[in-house]
């Protein structure tokens, strides 16, 4: 186990810059999840940490060793691949021991290590099978076993659950979390699934276009996203954005949205002191779908709005409603029993305290004062 420090790392492929100035300070025993859309450089960063790709600039420190120019085999890192990358011609046991064979670990130690890992992951009955004779979930376990058996300083996971069906994915997710609790390794875990990111991580790295957008704990990422990209990427359905004009005085702020279908006024009072400097300017209001409620249950700090329902999508536990507010299409997640008709005019209320505001030009969060 060890901490991992990534300092000003850049990566260039031919003419394409895949990573720009990546800085991460990952603590010993921390479970860090990398999320971002496809092609944003997650696998590239993982490959660089693993030593499978070289950095174009910058340095990496693992524990107290600088590892920037060390090859994979000298870094003491284990990795689980999205494709599992099990050696097809070897048995499960041989798959697990291959790394130890290469390092000339004595046979009896190997046998002991395999037995331990097999017990931990409950793959004992599978040890003499070939990967082709395993189900997806079993392959996944074997791939984990191959990583765990080495007792490395750092674990890397590249979308390890994405090839499993939905039910198994949730089960394995819980198991991964338990395993981490129990063994306490340092983990860097890549996923494009934001639920996985929220549930597993101690801290989340959100990436886009090779740039780190935010590195923070899940609650901060969700409640105080650093910019409109993070706000829109994390959370499903996505956060709603509305351009609003700020007016009033420092202690009694009003945000006004002017759409094609009229005007909506959000009296903010003194709930958002960070907007003090923005009076007379336009900012982006961000409201999560679950921050809307049916108007009749609304209470303090709620702003009532009149909306027209476009689409109603019951999801089981909730009802997802796409509605139009002064000509702008927005999404709300409402209680399951709330089932308006399409085209119906409904009264909703927005919990304005939970709303966040972004600079219109940069898209950055307007920070609390």
């Amino acid at each position: 186990m060890a901490s991992l420090n990534i300092e000003t790392v850049w990566k260039k492929y031919d003419n394409f810059i895949a990573l720009r100035d990546v800085n991460l300070d990952i603590k010993d025993g921390e479970f860090v999840v990398l999320v971002g859309p496809s092609g944003c450089g997650k696998s590239t960063l993982l490959s660089i940490i693993a030593g499978l790709e070289e950095t174009s600039y910058g340095s990496l420190t693992l524990g107290d060793r600088e590892v920037t120019d060390l090859s994979s085999k000298d870094r003491n890192i284990a990795m689980v691949f999205q494709s599992y990358a099990l050696y097809p011609t070897m048995t499960v046991r041989q798959n697990i021991t291959f790394g130890m064979e290469n390092r000339k670990v004595p046979k009896d130690e190997q046998a002991k290590a395999v037995a331990e890992v097999a017990k931990l992951l409950q793959i004992e009955p599978l040890l003499d099978r070939k990967p082709s004779q395993l189900s997806g979930g079993q392959r996944q376990r074997v791939a984990m076993g191959r990583a765990l058996v080495r007792d490395p300083q750092l674990f890397l996971f590249d979308e390890p659950l994405s090839n499993l069906d939905a039910k198994l994915r949730v089960e394995m997710r819980t198991e991964m979390k338990k395993l981490h609790k129990r063994l306490g390794q340092t983990i860097v875990y890549v996923t494009h699934d934001q639920v996985e990111a929220m549930t597993l991580s101690d801290r989340i790295v959100v990436m886009n276009g090779g740039v780190i957008q935010q590195f923070a704990d899940p609650d901060t990422i969700y409640q105080k996203p650093a910019n409109t990209f993070v706000a829109g990427f994390m959370g499903s359905p996505s956060m709603n954005f509305l351009p609003v004009t700020i007016s009033g005085t420092d202690n009694d702020v009003t945000a006004t949205f002017k759409g094609d279908g009229g005007e909506v006024v959000f009296p903010l009072g003194s709930t958002h002191p960070e907007l003090a400097g923005f009076i007379g300017k336009t900012v982006t209001l961000g409201a999560r779908p679950e921050h809307f409620v049916p108007a009749e249950v609304s209470g303090d700090g709620m702003v009532r709005v009149s909306a027209t329902v476009d689409v109603v999508e019951p999801t089981g536990p909730d009802t997802m409603v796409v509605f139009t507010l002064a000509g702008k299409s927005l999404v709300a997640v409402l209680p399951a029993k709330f089932r308006p008709d399409e085209e119906e005019a409904v009264e909703l209320a927005l919990n304005i305290k939970e709303a966040v505001f972004f600079d219109v030009d940069s898209g950055d969060l307007i920070p609390d004062v």
Binding site: A50, G51, K73, F81, Q82, S83, Y87, P88, F98, N102
Partner: protein
Amino acid sequence: MSVAENIPDLDRKRPIGAKKLAGRIALYTTLIILALFVLMPLAVIVLNSLRVNEDILRESFIGWPTRITFENWGVAWSEACINAACTGVRPYFWASILMVVPATLISTAIGLINGFALTKWKMPFAGVVFVCITIGVFLPPQVVLLPWAITLSALGLSQSLAGLALVHIIQGTCFTTLFCRNYLINLPDDLIKAARIDGAGFFRTFWKIVVPLSPPIIIVTIIWQFTFIWNEFLYAVTFASSDFRPITAALMSLNADDTGVSEYGFGSAAVLIAAIPPLVIYFLGGRYFVRGLTQGAVK
């Protein structure tokens, strides 16, 4: 849900219309005629190798045997004269084996290593190197004959088994590299990465991961190389000597023995003997041949 009690007729075939039937008949007739056309020469050779000499002299080169004899095969194998040495094709057969087997195995091994290095080991200038190697595939042998003669004599290997084997190893590497590269390019990159993280170097990854996944292409390459080198004639004739002569070169000098008997009988047998090893190789591995050339996928 209730399950149907009676199983209906499940072997139903779609009825064939008269027009379609006529088309089928025309198609198969054509195919059979073409097949006969191709098989004719082979049939003639096989028949001649089994005919007695008088039959061939009396009738002609083409005809049925009045009685079947295997005498010709014996003569061809151990008695017929080649350049005044009446040993049959036996010593040339073994000379060919001694040259072809190592040349095939070595060129296949080099091709597989090349293919791995070119596709999976981030070799610098892999693209350029690959193009250079494959140019060799398209060079007509006549063009490189003289350069090879000069090279072999400089190496002191002219007209020797080792010399001819060397020519085939190097020429063959162009083909084997092309085959193996096209196969191995489909090997998942993650396997190689996993092996690197597991601490395996180039040769260990090659030996433990790549080779066990490559039997289809190894077999294809061996069949191809063996057949090509065994049947090769131009280099065989050019670099043959009284000490070393592959069977294809020897066949050309196959003479009638002293009694002046016609060559057709044992000549046919000798040709068939020369054709046996590639056939054996093909029958042993032919299943893989089509498969290996058409699909490179490893799953």
